[in-house]
Symmetry: C2
């Protein structure tokens, strides 16, 4: 299985290397800085696997090049996010905005967004366009909602789900759905892939938010979400069950302007004692289970195995 | 003619008022602040007239609502421009970024961009999508080029043409071309409308750049372009012909950090003496002439008259 996946990822990497992003070296330079900073190509990979699930034939376009639209779209959102969040770092390196400034970062983000839509439009498939434009609309609306919600310590589990749906799950779901359309899936099969992507995306973000606390490999002295005072699922679960005085203490820690390592450890212990991490992990497992169930009626093939493998792999990842 | 145009514009305004932009009041608030700040609806109007030129039948969608995609797209670029330019004002009012901050302005710009593509995709017409995505790609690439060119005092006429093509003419051209496609134009007719839009857009921007110097109604104490040190066509023409010492003087004036009213008047006189304004006006007239010639083979109709009228009107506008 790993070999099969490795080959597919290599083909995507190859397409990324050879695809001419722009005739302007500067646009390429800024884009490539982030594009080649260790991204896992999850979204293109899911599109390719979803397409191959229904058709082993040659496509009338380069499937791998087409799949890049999801990497470009994702990268565009990261560039704008970094400007909006005043981010200093991204993927362990200086954020693009720290090297080329906010102005260039905004505009190159716009370019990547336009590029991804241009690739999508080359398919001349109105159904694909509908998925992509619906997705980008919900995503950008979600970004605004998130900005307005920044300091909301009363975020409910339901609101959190809405946030991570728009931030992560919808694009992963769209990659799967577009793959299914390209591969010639039936309407029901397409729905299955779309739902698989949704659950996978939800699990992906919950795990991401968990790793922000649990990862020891990233070398961060404290979690980014904690440092930003951002409430995620483990915290929501903790706040649900802890007694009022501990609740106040935890909220105060999340409100601190410049929290210390000690503050982080205090918050960590409160969340851990309240089983916040445990419950969030369980939630991710439920999502992964639901994702795999969506695949049950689909044709058996290496691609289907790969999609199952990816869902399981997600739960085990350490960074 | 004016009545005919007025009616069409009113229908566009009505669509703008009734179209639900987002379910989120904040997005609507920020968007509407700029959408209802006295825009002339040039792009939607051109799309509507171009469509009506070929078909007087009922369209299977609301033509006016569809035309809004060009107003939203245009507004999205203005919001991002204002962030990139650190603009204080827009259309005589505080820029949106001054009221809601850069972060919200970037994200609402992204939303409007996504919204316009969503409207386009609802037409389920791959040709329309191709025009729109090609246009946004060239525009966003142009924005980056312009950013890198900010301090370029050696801008040639050809480079200036490339800048205003990507900044203004291509979107106006796209509005006409999409209208033609929707209206059921032949390939040749579609090309004519596309070219009409191109020349009209070029004229539009040259006049805009001229009015930045010549308009006395805007209440600006000095031209925005001059204040920003931005080289436009009248300056390019002047620099071409004036003697070296005057050239140095003019360039110095454009380089000044905080130029005074007196500086502006000095620059103005140099450009005027060198016939910079005169020649730029003549260039705009040539573009308008070329635009109208594109319409010569097209069916006679009120829409065609309106398109001719608009081209002439452009040369006479005072703000």
């Amino acid at each position: 299985m790993l070999n099969y996946l490795k080959e597919e990822i290599e083909k995507i990497e190859e397409a990324l290397q050879t695809e001419k992003l722009s005739t302007h070296p500067f646009i390429n330079q800024v884009s490539e800085y982030l594009l080649f900073a260790g991204g896992k190509r999850v979204r293109p990979l899911l599109m390719v696997l979803s397409a191959k699930l229904f058709s082993s034939e040659n496509f009338n376009h380069d499937l791998y090049r087409t799949s890049l639209l999801f990497e470009y779209l994702h990268t565009a959102t990261l560039l704008h996010d970094d400007v909006v969040d005043n981010a200093e770092f991204r993927r362990g390196r200086k954020a693009a905005r720290n090297l080329w400034g906010n102005q260039a970062t905004i505009l190159v983000g716009d370019y990547l967004y336009a590029k991804s839509l241009k690739i999508a439009s080359a398919l001349k498939n109105p159904e694909v366009m509908e998925v992509i434009t619906r997705t980008t609309l919900l995503m950008s609306e979600g970004e605004v909602m998130q900005l307005l919600n920044l300091d909301n310590q009363e975020l409910s589990e339901k609101e959190y789900e809405e946030v991570i749906f728009r931030k992560t799950a919808i694009l992963i779901s769209a990659a799967c759905e577009v793959g299914a359309i390209i591969g010639g899936a039936t309407h029901a099969q397409r729905e299955s892939l779309k739902n698989y992507g949704f659950y996978l995306g939800m699990a992906f973000q919950v795990i991401d938010d968990l790793l922000d606390y649990l990862s020891t490999e990233t070398g961060k002295d404290l979690g980014k979400d904690f440092a930003e005072g951002k409430i995620t699922l483990p915290v929501i679960y903790a706040l649900e069950t802890i007694p009022p005085e501990e609740k106040e203490q935890l909220k105060k820690l999340f409100k601190k302007e410049n929290p210390s390592r000690e503050d982080f450890e205090k918050a960590f212990r409160i969340i851990q004692k309240a089983k916040g991490f445990e419950r969030a992990k369980k939630k991710a497992e439920e999502y992964v289970k639901a994702a795999k169930e969506c695949l049950s009626g689909l044709p058996e093939s290496p691609s289907r195995e790969a999609l199952i493998f990816l869902a399981d792999y997600l739960l085990e990842r350490k960074k």
